[in-house]
C-alpha cells in the first residue's frame, strides 16, 4: 500500500463521503456534504495508472472491472457458440425428420455443418474483436484521463 495515499485530499474526501453515506443509511436524515473547492482542481495530479501500478484498492477496482468486462464478453460469445454447437446434435436427436430434410438439394446437417457454420464462426469472431477492442479503448480512456 502506498504510504502517501492516506494523506491524499481526494481520498480523504472520498472517505468522508462514504462515512456520511453510512450514517445516512443508519438514520435517514439529510446530510450536507461539504468539501473545499480546491480539491476538485487538484484531482488530476494523481493519474489512475499509478493507482494500478501501486496496487491501491482503487487500482484493483479498476483492474477487476476490466477483467470482468472482458470475461463477460468472452463468456457471452462462448455461450452463444455453445448453444449453436451443442444445440445442433440435440435438435437432430429430438427432431429426427431434420436429419433427412433437404435444403437446396443438400441434406440439412451437411449444409449446416459442411458450410454455413464457418461464416458464422468468422462473424462471431469479428463481433468479439470489435467489442473487446472497444472495451480496451474505454478502459484506456478512463485510466489515462488527465
Amino acid at each position: 500500500m502506498n504510504p502517501r495515499s492516506a494523506d491524499r485530499p481526494d481520498r480523504r474526501a472520498f472517505e468522508r463521503l462514504l462515512a456520511s453515506e453510512r450514517r445516512a443509511a443508519e438514520r435517514p436524515r439529510r446530510q450536507v456534504v461539504t468539501s473545499p473547492r480546491t480539491i476538485a482542481v487538484r484531482r488530476p495530479r494523481y493519474p489512475l495508472t499509478r493507482e494500478i501500478d501501486e496496487q491501491t484498492k482503487l487500482g484493483e477496482v479498476y483492474m477487476r472491472s476490466l477483467v470482468r468486462t472482458q470475461l463477460r464478453l468472452g463468456l457471452f460469445v462462448c455461450s452463444l457458440l455453445g448453444c449453436v454447437v451443442c444445440g445442433l446434435p440435440l435438435l437432430f436427436l429430438l427432431v429426427p425428420p431434420l436429419r433427412v430434410v433437404e435444403v437446396l438439394g443438400v441434406p440439412l446437417p451437411w449444409l449446416l455443418l459442411g458450410g454455413l457454420i464457418y461464416p458464422l464462426f468468422t462473424l462471431a469472431g469479428y463481433f468479439y474483436v470489435r467489442s473487446a477492442e472497444r472495451n480496451e479503448r474505454d478502459f484506456a480512456d478512463l485510466v489515462d484521463r488527465r
Partner: protein, 574 residues
Amino acid sequence: MSSAYGVVAVLLVVVATVLIGAFGIRLSRTTSDFYVASRTVSPLWNASAIGGEYLSGASFLGIAGLILAHGADLLWLPVGWTGGYLVLLVLVSAPLRRSGAYTLPDFAEARLESMTVRRTASVLVVLIGWLYLMPQFQSAGLVLRGVTGAPVWVGGVLVAVVVAVNVLSGGMRSITFVQAFQYWLKLTALAVPLIFLLLAWNADGRPRVEDGPPVFRDRTTVSFPSDVRVKVSEPVTVSAEGVIDGRRVGGPLTLEPGTHDIRHDAKVTFPAGAKVPHMESLPVLDDEDWAMPLQGRDHPVYATYSLILATFLGTMGLPHVLVRFYTNPDGRAARRTTLAVLALLGAFYLLPAVYGALGRLYTPELLMTGRTDAVVLTLPGRLVGGVLGELLTALVAAGAFAAFLSTSSGLTVSVAGVLGQDILGGGVRSFRIATVLAVIAPLILAITARALAVADVVGLAFAVAASSFCPLLVLGIWWRRLTTAGAMAGLLVGGGLAGAAVVATILGGPYDGWTGALLAQPAAWTVPIAFLVMIVVSLLTPRKVPLGVARTMVRLHTPETLNVDRGDWRPRSA
C-alpha cells in the same frame, strides 16, 4: 497413380520448403530469433502461417477418409478444429500474447511462479507434440508409397529430415515463411482438383448417395496394399489373383458370407453392382444412415458431444498453435490474426466433406482395403483420368506433403523449444540438440507402432490438450484464485486420465460398448474432471495463490497503449 508426376510434385514441395526456409537463415541471429522470429511478423503472414501449420495430414487427408467411412457425424471434426480457434480467440489469444511467454511452460511459470508447474507443463507439451507428430510421419510414409511405391518408412524419414534441416538452419523465422506458403499450397491443392471432380460428377449425371449399402458402380479391380480381414454380406463371384483365406487363387472365386482374409498384393475384381465388403473394423452403413447424423456408431450422442468438447477446447492447448501467437507484435494484433485464421480455416474446411461424399460414390473399395485416408489421392485419377488426372493427383500429393511438412515443422519447433529450455539448459546449441531429439522419438514410434487412422490419433492429442492445458490457460487468465497446488493437481489428473485413455486405445483396443466409447473419446469426462480438480484444490489451498497475481493480471489484460507497470518477468529463453 503415376510415379513420375507424383515424384516431381513431392520433390518440388520439398525443395521449395528448403529454399524458402533458407531465406530466413541470415535473418536469425539470436536465441530470441530462433524461438519466435523476434515478433516482427505481420498479422497477415501470421494468419497464413497459423493456417499452414495447423492444417495437418489429418485435415488434408484424414477428414475426407473418416467422412467416407463414418458419415455425417464426422462433419463435426473440421467444425471443431475451426471452432477451437473461436474459443481460443475469445478466451486466450490477447492475454496470452501479453503474457510475453514464448511457450506454454513459460506461461505456466509466469502465472503461477512455480518451477514444478513449469516442468509438468513441459512434459505434457513434449508428450502431446510426439503424439501429434507420430501419425504425420506414418501418413507421409503411406502417401509416398502410394505415389512412388517406396517402402513405408521412407516417407516418414524424408519428412523428418527436411523438417530437422529447416528448423536447424532458420528457426522460427524461416518456419513462418514456410508455413504461410504451405497454407496457400494446401488450399490450391485441394480446391483445384475439386473443381475438375465436380465437373466430372456433373457430366456423369450428378449421381447421388442413395439407399442401401455402398456398391461398386462399375466392374472394379481392387488391389490390396496390406493384409486385411473383410466382411462379406452376400455371396459374390469375383475374379481373384493372390492369396485369399490362406489359399493361392488365380481365377473366378465365390466369396461366401462371413469374414475372409486377404493377403497383401492380392487383386480382386468385382462385378458392377456388387456390394462392397467392408474391412472388419469399419462399420457397414447403409447410405441413408451414412448421410444422417447420430446414426451407425455405438453411443453416437456421447461420441458427438465428446468430439465437440475435445476439439473446441483442445485447440488452445496444442503446443504448436500457441507458439505462433508470440510472433504477433501485441495483444490486439494477436486477436486480429486469430480472426483471419478463422476465415482461412473456414474456407479450407469446406472442401474435405465434398471429397468424402464423392469418395462414397466413386471409391467405395477404400472401405474394403481400409485405406480411407487415401480417398483424396485416389479420386482425381478415378474421376478425371488421363494426363490431367495424373497431374491433379500429383498436385494433391504435393499438398499432402506440404501438410506433413508444415505441421511437423511447427510441432518440432515447439517441442524442441521446450526440450531445449527445460531439459538441456537453454541456448542455441541445446535448441539444436533438442530439435534432433524432437524428431527422432516420434519417428521411431511411427516406424514401430501399428498404423492407426491419422485423424484418430490426432483426435486423442486434442483430448489430452483439452484436459490439461485448456483448464490451465482459462483459469490462469481469468481466475485470480488459481493456486500452484490447484494447477498441478489439475494438470496431473486431467492429463493423466486422458493420457491413460490414449495408451489404452492405442495399445489395447478396440473395445466394445461403453468402454470403447469412453476410451476412444475421453474428453467428455476428462475435461470436466480436470476443471473441477483445478478449482476445488485451488479453493482448498487459498494460501498458495501466487504473490504476484495482481501484477500478472495487469500484464495479461491491460492494452499495450497504457503506460503501466507490468512486472519484470522475462521468459528464460530471451
